[in-house]
Each structure stands twice: as structure tokens, then as C-alpha cells.
């Protein structure tokens, strides 16, 4: 029964991915990509990897979908027709052959791993020393915290890269107002976002808290927060801040800075990113909350785009 479910899911995942790649119209590709992200999240759920499923649904089907849709809208505004050119048949067949060959190699490698040699057996005895139950959080924030620290700086770097594309004279400024031009749409979106933003805040706080012992975590929480913030901006409930507001910059840097500070303080306890005895859970939760805030604001601004000249939010003071 589960096998039937997994088989159908696999076929649908391959189908939506293939269509998203080869269809000409950009919006069709985006719609299939969003469906693909959702289905991939289901696949993670079926594999009992709930942390990854949450991340896939939030980021793959949520934020990336919004990013692509907004990019398409900007292309259309520039006069592009947002459709792909036809790829020659030999190119498609060649790409298919290369990918199929790679999949075969990957499958052979994965299937040759003996079932007992998973990471679980290594991590499980170390978890009681941390005081948290979620092994993924343990790996992300304790055993391999260095990787996560670098990832947070990479995310910040991506935002800086987007900001660096601002046209001359627009810096430092606000991104283009994502609010809707049409008044009825604006009212509907505004009312909805006034409900969504508080719920997103609560949900994000819950996900970080639950992430210690149940599936959850900072990235998923940050993405939910980013979604709430951006819908609020689209509904006109909040305005997008100008890039030089100190409070905004503090919020962006807070997560990575706290993470780095804890890491450096850990030198006193034995090494970089070593948590002192008994303080592991406290430090992990602190890092995750600040990280969720930074990730939320960073992702919302990434989606909002570069500052544009003369942009003014609906509230001249913007979001403080």
C-alpha cells in the first residue's frame, strides 16, 4: 500500500519536473514547479523526514514560487514575453541521457550503503548530552554547527548581492512597493494579511520552540515569517523599509551575529562552537530564535527585490 503511494508519487514528481523544464510558457513552468515542490515535500513526509518536508514545502513551494512569479512579472513589465525558446531535440535527448546516467550511478551508490551504517547510530548516544530530542536540530546546531553558521552568512550575502544590483541613485532606498494597484484587490489582500501576519508570527515562534524536540527549526520558522511579512507588504498593511534603516540592519545581522558570538565564546569552553556543559539547549534555542528573525527578514527582502529610485511605501515612515 505504501509502495503504491510512493510509486505514484515518484511518477508525479518526475512528470511535473519534466513538464516544468520543457514547457514554453513561463507561468506554466512556475505552476508546475510549485506543484513539484509540494509533491517533493510529500515525498519527504513519506520518508518520515518531517524537518526536510517542512523546509521543502515552505521554501520550495512557497518562497521560491513567489520569487519566480514576481520575476516573471518584472520580465513582462520590461517587455519580455516570458516564454522559452524551443530547445532542439538532440539537446533534450542528450540532457535526458546524461541525467539518466547520473541517476543510475546515484541509485547504485545509495543502494550499496548497508542499512546499519546510518548517521543515527552515531548521533543517538550523543543527544542526551545536549538536552534536546530532535536529532536534526542536534546535527544542525551542535554537531555540524559550523556549516549552519556559514549558511546563515551565505543567505545574508545573497541579500547583499541583490541589493548591489540597485540602479545608481536608488541606493539606499526602498524596494518597489509590492502593493496592489487595484483597490478591491488591495482591500482583500490587506484584510487577509492583517490576519496572516500575527498567525505567521505565532507559527514561527512555535516552530522554533518545537524544533528542539519535534520537527521544526529556525529555517522553517524564518520562511513562514517571511511569507507573513511579504503578504503584509502586498496588502499594504506594512511598508517595505529603506535599506539604511538601522533597525532593519540590526534585524538582518542579529541571527548570524549571535551565532558567531556564541561560537567565539565557546573557545573559552574548549573550542569554536563548543557549548558549555548544561547550557547547550539554552544557547541552541537562543540562536534559533534570533536566526529565525534574521532569516525571515532576509527572505522577505530578497523577494522584495532591489531598491528602486523614488519608491515610496504607503506609510512614509515605513516599518520601523
Amino acid at each position: 500500500m505504501t509502495l503504491a503511494f510512493d510509486l505514484i508519487l515518484c511518477l508525479m514528481i518526475l512528470g511535473t519536473a519534466g513538464i516544468a523544464l520543457f514547457v514554453r510558457d513561463a507561468l506554466a513552468a512556475i505552476a508546475f514547479f510549485i506543484a513539484f515542490g509540494n509533491l517533493l515535500g510529500l515525498a519527504w513526509l513519506s520518508l518520515d523526514a518531517v524537518n526536510v518536508a517542512m523546509a521543502e514545502i515552505a521554501i520550495g513551494a512557497g518562497v521560491t514560487g513567489v520569487l519566480l512569479i514576481l520575476a516573471r512579472a518584472r520580465l513582462l513589465a520590461l517587455g519580455d514575453d516570458a516564454a522559452s525558446a524551443a530547445t532542439p531535440l538532440w539537446l533534450r535527448l542528450g540532457a535526458l541521457a546524461a541525467c539518466a546516467g547520473f541517476v543510475v550511478l546515484l541509485a547504485a551508490a545509495v543502494l550499496s550503503i548497508p542499512p546499519e551504517s546510518g548517521l543515527d547510530r552515531v548521533v543517538a548516544p550523543l543527544m542526551p548530552g545536549l538536552g534536546i530530542e530532535n536529532r536534526v536540530t542536534g546535527v544542525l546546531l551542535a554537531f555540524r554547527a559550523y556549516d549552519t553558521l556559514l549558511e546563515t552568512f551565505v543567505l545574508l550575502g545573497a541579500l547583499v548581492a541583490v541589493w548591489s544590483l540597485a540602479p545608481a541613485g536608488a541606493w539606499p532606498g526602498r524596494p518597489a512597493d509590492p502593493g496592489m494597484a487595484d483597490a478591491p484587490m488591495r482591500r482583500v489582500a490587506g484584510t487577509f494579511s492583517q490576519l496572516l501576519l500575527p498567525v505567521a508570527l505565532v507559527m514561527a515562534a512555535y516552530l522554533v520552540w518545537a524544533g528542539s524536540d519535534l520537527p521544526g527549526g529556525a529555517f522553517q520558522a524564518g520562511t513562514v515569517l517571511a511569507g507573513g511579512l511579504f503578504v503584509a507588504a502586498m496588502g499594504g498593511a506594512i511598508g517595505l523599509p529603506s535599506s539604511d534603516r538601522p533597525l532593519l540592519r540590526a534585524a538582518l545581522v542579529l541571527g548570524p551575529a549571535v551565532f558567531l558570538a556564541v561560537g567565539l565564546a565557546g573557545v573559552a569552553a574548549g573550542g569554536f562552537l563548543v557549548y558549555p556543559e548544561g547550557m547547550a539547549k539554552t544557547l541552541i534555542v537562543t540562536i534559533e530564535y534570533t536566526l529565525a528573525l534574521s532569516i525571515g527578514v532576509t527572505l522577505a527582502l530578497l523577494v522584495a527585490g532591489t531598491p528602486v529610485p523614488g519608491a515610496a511605501g504607503p506609510n512614509p515612515d515605513g516599518k520601523g
Binding site: A35, N38, L42, I57, G65, I69, G79, L214
Partner: protein, 91 residues
């Protein structure tokens, strides 16, 4: 006779098939609105599958994943209906 949990797994398969049917509309739909509607139906279907699968396996964390999906489902549609910004920058 099957246990009730098995019926829930069967329900998950059925819901997957309804999502596949919606994706046919995504393929054919003559306009962008139809395609976004199909993507949204796929999202609702996937949330249903998450709830049903979580019930079949007794794992309440699946419901958190479904909750995330619900909250973020409307964001893409809201971004889409903004339409094309006019060539003259707003504001």
C-alpha cells in the same frame, strides 16, 4: 479486512490522483489564471494528503507540515494577482 489506518493510506493515494487530475488543467488551462488555480488545488490536495498520511502513521508532526503549507499557499496567488506592474515604476 483492512485496519482503518490502511484505509487512510488508500485515501492518500486517491488524493494524489485528484492532484494529478488538477495538473491536467495546469497543462491545458488556456490562461495564466487557470494554471495558478490548478497549482493551488494541488496545494490543497497535498495538504489533504499530509493530514491523511499523518493519521495513517500516527505522526502529529505531519500536521505541522500541513499547517506550513496552508499558511504559505496564499502567498504565491497573491503575488500572481498583482499582475504586471506598469512600465513606469510605482511611486
Amino acid at each position: 479486512m483492512w485496519r482503518v489506518a490502511d484505509w487512510f493510506t488508500l485515501a492518500a493515494i486517491f488524493l494524489l490522483l485528484t492532484v494529478a487530475a488538477a495538473l491536467v488543467r495546469c497543462w491545458r488551462g488556456p490562461g495564466p489564471v487557470e494554471r495558478i488555480m490548478a497549482a493551488q488545488l494541488a496545494g490543497t490536495g497535498v495538504i489533504g494528503v499530509a493530514v491523511v498520511l499523518g493519521t495513517a502513521r500516527g505522526d502529529a508532526a505531519f500536521l505541522d507540515a500541513a499547517l506550513i503549507g496552508t499558511l504559505l499557499a496564499a502567498v504565491a496567488v497573491t503575488a500572481f494577482v498583482r499582475g504586471t506592474p506598469k512600465p513606469r515604476a510605482k511611486g
